[in-house]
């Protein structure tokens, strides 16, 4: 038989003015199960709390109802007080007499009656409350960062600097990502390599940071604080310990004509290569698809010339399994490629290139060593046309969204060109100029006013070649849609930013949700921008949406802070408001029939399968099982369950039902 104590608070005049607290306290005494009911001026005050604590001991109460303000305000306060008196804190509930009654109704019997009702409801609930205990989940203090671009590097460094272990996994042979390909960066025009490489080196040197380049996530199991990640380390065909990175092999490789990824196909590399001079780690990798030895069984020149005998033709991929506590997704983006632009002849005409290619052309470390030479014949382009929004904000190209960075880098490209070729002519076709960011608009103005880049507001309809030059046909919408034709030597398309290839598969591996364009989805568009729906997995950079460098770095540090906060305790304590599947003795084992229709209702993939097996190992029943580490306690599964096998602690069917039945 429950022994409930009810404590009605006047909250000074706040409640007392409109609700007859004494009367409420009095009539509450007649509610079955209530053994003690008093009213007091300020329950949340020390004397008020003492009142409750003493009553618990004196009347050895089995439950407490504090009729005062909103539980969203003082529930923690009173639960703590109750706990101090030795009663399980979850046996204390609050009736909201202030926000939901005294403040919103005038002084009247009806108001007092309502107050009494609200208390009765809570009394009935408390009768069905169970002692609950916070859920403790151990936390493995090692983070996994997927993607070695600036986002991944920044996140990894920040976490490492908090004194936690970090594993940084990058699928290509070197970290650095797209930022390492850029020539200069807006809005300051400082050299990308110069600001990035120190970070790359720091990442390589950091004692808490383990680099895994040329590696990919194979599989992920577990949940927040307790992930198990399997990483595939692709074979470099190289003993990295022996390799000194002298680069002799790369110079001697007979293969010389392979389009080089780092230079976006504008340069050439060998079959054994280091992606770029500042690569980290500075160790070559053999591109099996193009290596003469793997194709014909002969060659092995690299092996012969290697002074340390580091080449390993027989080396195989290696699988490593790691215990991980938290994950930062920083897999970045890609730009839309040729096949999408027949009208621009991109892919057909060598002198129609994309933004990344232009970065390489402009870069001092690029194939032309920074000299403005167009791909087709190496001539210096006298006229260059830049086409913004190539594919972006264009439903017919499947990209309705704005790629965000193009307005800025197009202005930058035009500037870089003008700085290298003062007499040259630069045109920019654009829809709108979106330059909202610190010093961004000033930057664009500079391109227009100081470097006299001609901006034409309009779309380009077609580009074709005519006697060795590219004819760009467009319209100038500010001149009443006048058709414009420009004969150019080089055309640069600011092609749309898209989700990295394989994002969908990765998202499914990690149970992270993603948007229609395969960018990873944040947990809340405003308030949880770096979290995902899966606890313990965070987002950084352009894998979530198009981002520029400053934003990416900021978000990466944000994600790192979330990881550090998670790692700040050995155990993760969670409110016990979680769903549980009931268990019964054999042969039923549970009301659950294992239809798993609740599984898709759970926003957190918290519902797992549990197989019940007999002594002989035969499968007796398959039940739903809630992973308390993942469950956030929304209860959607509960409303979905036909057999009422699944219920939620703190808001159980019995509790809600009891509340309802008092009305």
């Amino acid at each position: 038989m429950s022994r409930i104590g009810v404590f009605t608070c006047h909250c000074g005049e706040n409640i007392g003015a409109t609700v007859d607290c004494a009367k409420v306290a009095a009539c509450t005494r007649n509610v079955p199960g209530v053994v003690h009911s008093v009213d007091y001026k300020y329950m949340c005050s020390d004397p008020g709390q003492t009142l409750i604590k003493e009553a618990i001991k004196e009347h050895n109460l089995t439950g407490v109802v504090v009729a005062a303000c909103s539980p969203r305000m003082h529930e923690p306060t009173f639960r703590a007080a109750v706990a101090e008196a030795g009663l399980n804190p979850y046996l204390c509930e609050m009736a909201n007499l202030r926000e939901h009654c005294s403040w919103v109704h005038g002084k009247a019997d009806a108001t007092t009656d309502k107050a009494a009702d609200l208390i009765r409801v809570m009394v009935e609930k408390v009768k069905h409350n169970e002692p609950l205990h916070p859920i403790k989940v151990p936390v493995t203090k090692r983070a996994l960062v997927l993607g070695g671009g600036i986002a991944g590097i920044q996140a990894a460094l920040d976490i490492a600097n908090c004194g936690h272990q970090v594993v940084l996994v990058e699928k290509s042979p070197s970290i650095g990502g797209h930022m390492s390909q850029l020539s200069e960066t807006f809005p300051t025009l400082d050299c990308s390599q110069c600001i990035l490489t120190p970070r790359m080196v720091e990442a390589a040197r950091h004692p808490n940071l383990t680099l895994m380049t040329y590696a990919e996530l194979e599989k992920l199991e577990g949940f927040i604080g307790n992930f198990k990640a399997t990483i595939r380390k692709k074979a470099r065909q190289l003993d990295e310990k022996l390799c000194t990175g002298c680069g002799l092999c790369t110079t001697k490789c007979p293969q010389k004509k392979i389009p080089d990824e780092f230079n976006e196909g504008l340069g050439r590399r060998g079959a054994i290569y280091v992606p770029f001079p500042q690569a980290v780690p500075n160790k070559p990798v053999i591109d099996k698809a193009n290596c003469t030895f793997y194709r014909s069984g002969k060659c092995k020149v690299c092996e012969k010339v290697c002074p340390t005998g580091a080449i390993r033709f027989d080396q195989q991929d290696e699988l490593v399994t790691l215990d991980i506590g938290a994950i930062v997704l920083a897999t970045g983006f890609k730009v839309m490629r040729t096949d999408k632009f027949p009208e621009y002849g991109y892919g057909k005409y060598p002198d129609v290139i994309d933004g990344l290619q232009f970065e390489r052309l402009a870069s001092a470390s690029g194939p032309t060593l920074g000299a403005m030479q167009r791909p087709s014949d190496g001539k210096a382009p006298e006229t260059v046309v830049f086409v913004a929004c190539s594919g972006s904000r264009d439903r017919s190209k499947g990209v309705p969204y704005c790629s965000k960075i193009c307005c800025m880098y197009t202005a930058k490209h035009a500037m870089l060109y003008k700085h290298k070729m003062h007499h040259g002519k630069a045109y920019v076709f654009y829809m709108d100029i979106r330059s909202s960011g610190k010093d961004y608009d000033e930057f664009v103005r500079r391109a227009i006013e100081e470097d006299d880049v001609t901006y034409i507001r309009g779309r380009v309809s077609r580009i074709y070649e005519e006697d060795g030059r590219l004819v760009v046909k467009g319209a100038d919408t500010l001149m009443g849609g006048e058709p414009v034709e420009i004969k150019a030597d080089l055309v640069v398309l600011a092609t749309a930013v898209q989700a990295q290839d394989g994002s969908e598969e990765l998202a499914q591996k990690l149970h992270v949700s993603y948007d229609p364009y395969h960018f990873f989805a944040e947990s809340h568009p405003k308030l949880k921008p770096v979290e995902t729906n899966t606890a313990g997995i965070f987002l950084a950079g352009a894998c979530q949406a198009p981002r520029d460098i400053p934003e990416t770095v900021a978000q990466a540090s944000g994600a790192a802070a979330k990881v550090a906060a998670l790692f700040s305790r050995d155990e993760l304590t969670r409110e016990p408001q979680v769903a549980v599947v009931n268990r019964l003795p054999a042969p039923m084992f549970s009301y659950c029939v294992g239809c798993f229709l609740c599984q898709s209702a759970c926003p957190y993939q918290a519902i797992e399968q549990e197989e019940i097996r007999g002594r002989d190992g035969s499968l007796l029943k398959t039940l739903a099982k809630v992973n308390a580490g993942l469950c956030q306690g929304c209860g959607t599964c509960v409303a979905t369950c036909r057999t009422k096998a699944i219920d939620i602690q703190g808001f159980s069917n019995e509790q809600i039902f009891a509340e309802l039945m008092t009305l």
Binding site: F341, P342, E343, S396, R462, Y464, E465, E466, V471
Partner: protein
């Protein structure tokens, strides 16, 4: 093979040679053309700018007629007819309410099941048999000109690549011709302004002719009556605009294929052209 046939007005008038060459070619390929009974105007090229409902009702009736005649598919050689019929079918298909409304207007049940195909789609089905039938390969450098109506709007027509179509080039190649890579494949020829704004047509068509010549074409191939008449009938004006004297003939793809199959030039209506279209027969 049996297929519904919707000639439309152009093929009875200004572009009779298109009708003639389609029929001649169909005969040679063993394709039976069943004319849509009691067909009416498709509404091009004015209805859709004047009255949306009307521009749907007219094709809706044609489709209903075809359906009543038990046809599953109709060939509309005229690109404008093709475009109007296909667009209407798409609209009715997407909006059942509108479909019911149209049924009231035309007083016929319309399930708009009938598929609408253009001449290139149909001929493409013969790409394997064609080479075998070749008598006089059409061994000439050609610029295949698609215009706008055959490939746009892509989301309705789902035919070829809107920005860089290839279907006619493939057919031309099959007929022994050498299709050229040129720049004006899908530029506007001035279309229906042929009569009202000849100056404009002269300019637009002129550029197309000029680029075809620049590319080294001996003939321009088309699959649209309006393209044909603008490039052919308006040659005097376009030459005047260009200050040039381009004599490059403009053939319907069906005429080129017909010649390749050894069909007599007059049966293909080549004599009807403004710019003479005579070719020295190449050896087999």
């Amino acid at each position: 093979m049996r297929i519904g046939y919707y000639p439309g007005c152009s093929l009875l008038g200004s572009s009779r040679e298109f009708d003639e060459s389609v029929r001649a070619l169909a005969g040679a390929l063993g394709l039976e053309l069943v004319q849509v009974p009691d067909w009416n105007c498709c509404g091009a090229s004015s209805a859709h700018v004047l009255d949306h409902k009307l521009s749907l009702a007219l094709p809706a009736r044609i489709l209903a007629q075809a359906e009543a005649a038990g046809l599953e598919e109709i060939l509309a050689p005229c690109a404008a007819c093709y475009n109007r019929l296909a667009s209407a079918r798409d609209a009715l298909d997407k909006d059942p309410v509108l479909a019911r409304e149209m049924e009231k207007v035309i007083g016929r049940p319309a399930t708009h099941k009938v598929r609408v195909v253009n001449i290139l789609e149909v001929l493409d089905r013969f790409k394997d048999t064609l080479p075998g039938l070749l008598k006089v390969p059409f061994a000439h450098k050609v610029a295949c000109y698609y215009g706008c109506l055959l490939v746009r709007p892509a989301k309705v027509l789902h035919f070829d690549r809107a920005e860089d179509p290839q279907s006619m080039d493939r057919l031309a190649a099959a007929a022994g011709a050498a299709p050229l890579d040129w720049n004006y494949k899908t530029e506007c020829c001035g279309a229906a302004f042929s009569v009202t704004r000849t100056d404009l047509v002269a300019r637009l068509s002129g550029k197309i002719v000029a680029d075809a010549v620049r590319a080294g074409a001996e003939a321009i191939l088309v699959a649209c009556p309006m393209c044909q008449s603008n490039l052919d009938m308006r040659r005097t004006e376009s030459n005047a605009y260009l200050g040039a004297d381009h004599q490059i003939p403009v053939l319907f793809i069906t005429q080129a294929l017909g010649l390749a199959l050894g069909i007599d030039a007059n049966r293909l209506g080549l004599q009807r052209h403004m710019v003479p279209a005579t070719f020295a027969p190449a050896a087999v």
